[in-house]
Amino acid sequence: MISARDISKRYGAVQALEGVSLDLAPGEVVALVGDNGAGKSTLVKIISGAVSPDSGGLFIDGEPVHVGNPHDAQRLGISTVYQDLALCENLDVVANLFLGSERRRLSFLNHIQMERSARDLLTSLDVRIRDIRVPVAMLSGGQRQSVAIARALIGEPRLVILDEPTAALGVEQTAQVLDLIRRLRERGLAVLLISHNLADVRAVSDRVVVLRLGRNAGEFRTADASQEAIVAAITGAAA
């Protein structure tokens, strides 16, 4: 269980987050929703170590942990898939999956071991790419997003954060990515999904956490919550 407790963060005059808490359990997909500027990205940046909070902190299984930079977060098993894909389009799928953590002997790449692991990983996630040795530039948007998500699993994380993973995708490709998210849950990973698309959120999440103006503004079990209740929490109409 990874928890963020009482997180506050101020940017100059803007109080981006104020006393926000969030629990992320293994095998659970939590959707983080909220209007533009609600503080979703800021919270994600704090959990993934890109930004330090003014107060509050992270706890893993109840123990406080220090996350000073993205490297710390990765070491603790927190892996982030950014909104802009962060893939190298000129490199092939294998190279992208292992970028920065290449399997090697001394400085020499172990191509075969990486390709074998890449195939196994993609097969286990049911990501279908005909030839994983072609440059990523030649893949469809959904395949690229799948590669970006698979890439987050290379370091055997416990939490995967996905920032707007379906924003740029068509219907069919969105379905592919949502399937992939379900498979992350089956693997026992904690998943934090940020999305503006309530249909996606309802399709794939177990729990919905709403932020509004930098504060916790409601939490729902997806199965029990109506779309209206979630929208009301987002817009503040209920308050």
Partner: protein
Amino acid sequence: MTNPTALVRKPYTPKEAVERLRHGDLGAWPVAGALIVIAIVFGSLNEHFLSSENLTNLALQMAATGTISLGIIMVLLLGEIDLSAGSVSGLCAVVMAILSERLHWNPLLAILAALVAGALVGLLHGLMFTRIRMPSFVVTLAGLIGWQGLLLYLLGSGGIINLPFDGFVAKLSDTWLPAWAAWTLTAGLVAVYAASGVISRRRRVAAELPVTAMWWLSARVGGLAVVLAGAVLVMSADRGVPLLLVIFGTLVVVFDLILRHTTFGRWMYAVGGNVEAARRAGINVTRIRVLAFVLSSVLAAFGGILSASRLSAVNQGSGGSDILLMAIAAAVIGGTSLFGGRGRTYAALLGILVIQSITNGMFLLSVDSSVRYMVTAAVLALAVAIDSLARRGNAT
């Protein structure tokens, strides 16, 4: 070898092949085509063009600018440019000549010192680019002028330093492999290539990874054997295979292996493809960039030394005139993308072969250099056009 369970990678369907072409995966085919056209055109216009003697001269002329071009590829891969390579090659050749001729250093030591000087120049460029964040274009444009100035200053009023014809440096470009050595080298290269292909194929089969068909591997080995043997045959009919060509070829192969099989090479391509992605993946982008500029300048320095060796002298024109543009043009014509992240070191070899053949052929036909410049420019423009179109194809 014929493992029935081996997954053989299927050849591309015509549709996929077209798709690959649209994305700029043309490989070496356009250059190979250009070379054939050049051979036919000049060969039919002048019977001397395809003679052993002339082709051997061509091989000799390629090495210096080709080595500089190899350095240019290192920065082009990052999507940057090095305009100083010509000046740096001249400067370092002058450094070498002063140390060995005026100060009577051991020539090997003088060469080493010149390469170190090149490394320092590249380090300076790299730091100005990464720390001060000056555009590489500006940094190396300043280098182009500044290092030329330093060269003139070092040469002083004399303006020329002759290298003794029987000295080590001059001998570099007047050493020819005896036939037995050339054939042994050829056989060795083909054997190593075939063995590495077979071994990697076996390991892939063992790891249950798809492999390319055996006939394709055989065809590639056969192709390499034919090309190398042809080159050796032609050059042996004249003076033999020039040592200079062997040196240049070795550099091309070694840097290709480094780029494709080490983390450093992988990260070069990554930085050239998407800096932000590389940075997020934990790659030290600054270090890669600085190293690329260092490599570029060191290779330029080495090219300058080879050029001085051919001329048996360094003078105020060393590294000047069209050397820089030829080196850049060679890299691009050979298929290195100006936009970064795409290209292999063989581009230096193939590109310089195209340019040098055109130069050499027109020289034989006594075409005025004005025409030669225009033809080279047209070839370069064509290469950049292909590159740009490929990039557009990539973007969509």
